[in-house]
């Protein structure tokens, strides 16, 4: 990826992170940690990878996106706002009565959400159904899902993993956001899902390991996924929970807590500094 493109993506991701902070601060609740960890991946998907049209969110040939770790909704809403699905200002309504931005994504509330998620382990099954539907109608669209590393403790993820490989769903890409933290501690402490790549390999997937904050690596992985025929691709992305906000990084306490006014100011200042650096 050239330097200019990378810089533009970095700006997008930084703005996505600002939106995550803005939303959770205004909501006084939500999940900033696991939203910040996927900000780079989701920015790449919405700005470089996916065939989508914010003006026509139900376009039949669009690529599909499934946020299987639905609690990272602030990241999804923020990238959608950046991409032009709705005004960035609307992010301040997150989790409020009457808002289209429900605590977890609802396809009935917000155009552009391809499936309602939030209950862990279920999104990936729906993603399989979408990919199957695409195959059945000989459509070219691809399906992108993001799973959490804690989420893959859900047995249903492995039902879906077995099925996706059995049905040769090579139009399906599932990221695993491996930030190593879940509510009760590190994923190893709670119930280790490691080794993650080997598990997906054993289930018959094409597996790629990347740094989930490197646009080059995200791009290369997605290109390799496109080239892989007959198998779904799992991209196991090593990430940092809370990435981009110093005091939230690698802190499990920021899984499901909103910044207060003082923390909000610090976080926004940090992100603005990064943004200014990129503008310079």
């Amino acid at each position: 990826m050239d330097v200019v493109a990378k810089k533009e993506l970095a700006k997008v991701a930084c703005n996505v992170r600002k939106g995550i902070i803005e939303g959770t601060f205004n909501a006084k609740s939500g999940h900033p940690g696991g939203s910040l960890s996927i900000a780079d991946i989701i920015s790449y998907l919405y700005f470089k990878e996916m065939n989508i049209d914010p003006a026509n969110p139900a376009m039949p040939e669009r690529d599909r996106f499934v946020l299987s770790k639905g609690h990272a909704a602030p990241a999804l809403y923020s990238v959608m706002a950046q991409r032009g699905y709705f005004p960035v200002e609307e992010l301040k309504t997150l989790r409020k009565i009457g808002s289209r931005l429900q605590g977890h994504p609802s396809m009935k509330c917000l155009p552009g959400i391809d499936i309602s998620t939030g209950s862990l382990g279920q999104g990936i099954s729906a993603a399989c159904g979408m990919a199957l539907g695409g195959k059945l109608q000989n459509a070219d669209f691809r399906v992108y899902a993001i799973l959490g590393d804690g989420e893959i403790q859900e047995g249903q993820v492995w039902e879906a993993a077995m099925y996706a490989a059995a049905k040769k769903l090579d139009n399906l890409v599932a990221f695993v956001d491996n930030n190593n933290l879940q509510i009760d501690g590190t994923v190893e402490e709670v119930n280790s899902p490691y080794p993650i790549p080997e598990k997906f390999v054993a289930f018959g997937w094409n597996v790629i390991e990347i740094d989930g904050h490197s646009f080059d690596e995200i791009e290369n992985a997605l290109n390799a996924a496109r080239e892989c025929k007959g198998k779904p691709t799992a991209i196991v992305a090593s990430t940092t929970k809370g990435k981009g906000v110093s005091f939230m990084e690698n802190q499990v306490s920021w899984h499901g807590a909103a910044p207060n006014a003082e923390q909000y100011e610090i976080a926004m200042k940090e992100l603005d500094e990064v943004l200014n650096g990129l503008e310079g």
Binding site: M107, I115, S119, G123, A126, Q156
Partner: protein, 314 residues
Amino acid sequence: MADVIKVATRDAYGKALVELGEKNPNVVVLDADLAAATKTGGFKKAFPDRFFDTGIAESNMMGVAAGLATTGYTVFASSFAMFSAGRAFEQVRNTIGYPHLNVKIGATHAGISVGEDGASHQCCEDIALMRSIPGMVIINPADDVEARAAVLAAAEMDGPVYMRFGRLAVPRIFDEDYKFEIGKAVTLKEGTDVTIIATGLMVKEAIEAAEALEAEGVSVELINMHTIKPLDKEAVVAAAKKTGCIVTAEEHNVIGGLGDAVCDAVCEEYPVPVVKVGVEDTFGKSGPALDLLPLFGLDAKNIVEKAKIAISKK
């Protein structure tokens, strides 16, 4: 007298799917390794490209069904009632019900009449579970004619439907020209002393009970409530006003099923005594279905007794 035709509603489901498949290329069918038992095997044979077996993974099947529905298909997802409504409850609730997707759940082997497999497979809680999901339509057909009509009607409407079918061959009640409308109760007989509201295989028992009661001089209003949600409250309230007492009959726990739905309707509008015939908050057991049904009070004899109790409470 001609022999009574007996067909399991699951057989009618399987045949109706093939009929639908011929008419509608948008219909796809999913199963979880029970195609021979749920009778989706016919569709599998006729339309192999539109049949998907997820294996023994009902939770995933419901999610796959939801995803397929978002790409424009009318999806029928089949398993036993225990695993459709029970095991996969939360998948049905969150990934099908909440987004109100066009998925039709064909749940077979409902109730005590599963027979020899016993309590682990005799689902008497499914109506209660599905009733609690906003927007879910629940249909419990009484015979094969009604089962076919239910499948065709479900395919015509947009949104989730839970269809409850049985394993046991049951007597045919309705004619070929039987008119079926989702949410519209069918009055089988008019009367003034007591109303019997039955669903599923209990409709046949209710017909026999009504005949027995009439022979004793009791005038019976008999209603077939094939759709449990949305309940035809108007029909229930009208019957309550007409007869002043109600007996409900269902092959389901007395908690959470048709009986409760009827109670809800009359309590709010026109309270009258309601006596329920159903599984008395207990688990099933193994045995031949035709022996088990009376053992659990799921027969005409019990309906007659309960009707007399209902009348005595007026």
